[in-house]
């Protein structure tokens, strides 16, 4: 692997060894990039939806009226559906998948991955329980059977409320996990990563719930509009956080997000398709009360989901690129005269 990377860096610049030697050690990366493959950004996307749709369902359940029942229902099912592939993806990504249970032999507060594993276990229990309660309410376990009566007797509001904590955790911890590394793009933006991942998870979950409800067509227009209003707010915040990330990174560290193929994915996919278009389409409907054709709502939701998936892919891949760039690492770790560091 190391060999491949060296040739890559040599070829890309097309510069003399003298040039490279002056700026770094022949362009060899200072740190090693994370060895993660497609499973990790996919998990970030699905895990975010699982956590955030539980959040929406729980808050609609505890604070909303009867009108929000379809939202609660869709959110509970969606949460479990998005959660089920998550551990599978995480185990597949391991170098030694058969040893996945070694994660469960310790609990380390300082390791976001350890805390995340346990958070996922706890959230799994809540997500499963709430989905089962919903299934019992929908009569999937039959009327009056022992299982159905048992599930219906559980304090579902209290469960929904308590579950908010692991649900928010699962939606946002992945940002902290990336921030606590030596990768320039991730660690330079350590205060922004968690909020950004939360915002992306929420907007994706809201889009997915809107999509389900619109296609199923059994929701009041007012209820849908409430979801869309909140979604536009979250997407606005997401856009601001992305702008802050750009400013905070500086030119060298942000380079992978703006150059070449990744730069096009960022501008066209994440900003244009994922945030710009849906905002443009949804904002008038959500805030001015203009009723949108169903097809447009569905399209906007789909675009948001595509943008969300691309964002997870982009932030991971751009992180790899910034890890491969010695100048980005040096930008972060350059010696300062008094020994104090800018963080």
């Amino acid at each position: 692997m190391a060999y491949e990377r060296r040739w890559e860096t040599r070829r890309r610049g097309g510069r003399s060894a003298g040039d490279e030697a002056r700026e770094s050690y022949y362009g060899v990366p200072v740190i090693h990039r994370a060895p993660w493959r497609w499973e990790i950004p996919t998990y970030f996307f699905l895990g975010g939806i699982a956590g955030a749709s539980y959040v929406i369902a729980g808050i609609a359940h505890v604070f909303g009226g009867d009108e929000e029942r379809p939202v609660v229902r869709a959110g509970r099912y969606l949460s479990l559906a998005a959660l089920i592939p998550s551990p599978i993806l995480l185990i597949l990504d391991l170098g030694r998948p058969e040893r996945f249970h070694h994660m469960l032999r310790v609990f380390k507060v300082r390791s976001p991955m350890s805390v995340g594993t346990w958070g996922l276990v706890v959230f799994g229990a809540f997500s499963t329980l709430s989905a089962l309660i919903q299934a019992a309410e929908d009569g999937l376990f039959g009327r009056g059977t022992l299982v159905a009566r048992l599930l219906l007797r559980l304090p579902s509001r209290a469960i929904a409320f308590l579950g908010q904590f692991p649900a928010f955790f699962v939606s946002g911890y992945t940002g902290v996990l990336l921030a606590a590394t030596a990768v320039p793009l991730w660690t330079r933006n350590y205060l922004l990563m968690g909020p950004l991942f939360l915002a992306s998870a929420l907007s994706n979950a809201l889009a997915a719930i809107t999509l389900i409800l619109t296609v199923a067509g059994r929701t009041s227009h007012r209820s849908l509009r409430r979801l869309e209003r909140f979604e536009t707010v979250v997407m606005g915040v997401e856009a601001l956080l992305l702008a802050a990330l750009r400013l905070n990174s500086g030119k060298t560290i942000a380079r992978p997000m703006h150059e070449g193929r990744l730069g096009r994915i960022y501008r066209v996919g994440v900003l244009g398709t994922g945030l710009g278009l849906p905002l443009l389409v949804q904002a008038p409907g959500a805030w001015l009360g203009r009723r949108l054709p169903r097809g447009v709502t569905v399209l906007a939701a789909l675009l948001t989901l595509i943008g969300g998936a691309l964002f997870r892919y982009l932030i991971v891949t751009a992180g790899h690129r910034s890890a491969d760039d010695p100048q980005a690492t040096f930008e972060l770790t350059r010696a300062r005269e008094n020994g104090s560091r800018r963080s």
């Binding site: 003298g18 060899v28 994370a34 390791s111 939360l198 770790t333």
Partner: protein, 290 residues
Amino acid sequence: MSTKVIRDQPGRTGTTGARPGAMGFLTDTTLCIGCKACEVACKQWNQLPMDEFGFTGYSYDNTGDLSGTTWRHVAFIERISDSEGRRPTSMRAFQSNWLMMSDVCKHCVYAGCMEACPTGAIIRTEFDTVVVQQDVCNGCGYCVPACPFGVIALDLGDGRARVGDHKAHKCTLCYDRLRDGLEPACAKACPTDSIQFGLVEDLMDRAKQRVADLRAQGVEEAHIYGDRAVGGTGGIEGLNAFFILTAPPEVYNLPAQPELPQRKTIPASVSTALAAVAFAVGAILSLRRK
């Protein structure tokens, strides 16, 4: 690249947070002749497979980088041109225009890889070195980007998927040899004593004396890499395997003032929790019963 001389910092230069009795390396790059005996000795003792055979095409360094199967790596830095791009016309009396450094795991006093490890596979031994327990590691790879020095790596078998064991590997400071009272293989093999092994406190005293001697001989750029001033900064509190360098650390592909990545965990968690509260309030306001 900055060619600024690394200046001493009172109270930090030459100090380390190494625990009493900690064992480590002092790699004095002014003595390195680039023979790569350390690389070979390391591979042989630890029974590490060979890397892909090839030429980098840029220097005598055909190893390239530390990896899961290369735990010592000799860097060859040719001072081809100065910061303005001019070719050198003179040569330092004590060294050629080549700088050579045998890079290795730093065995940080507070180690990023060890704190990141979610299985507890990475441990601190009785010699205060950092070792990966191979029977515990499950190859999650989180330690890899958590090392500020680019040391630890998964053995993925260079793309030949079935060759590597897909677990994390790095220098063990020859834990097995230390248990038997022997010095690590690389230090044993080094013909010029560029690699010295011993108690960190003794080595640090020796390094300070050596830097003072070098400076008296006119090498004013000589400095320690791996104390609290340079290399062991930002919560790392020193490196048990440290170096004497005669150019800024970046020239050797080393970060001048790295930081322990886990220092970001608490502030990042707090900002995420605050954002969660804000989003929860937003969701309640949007979805509450009207």
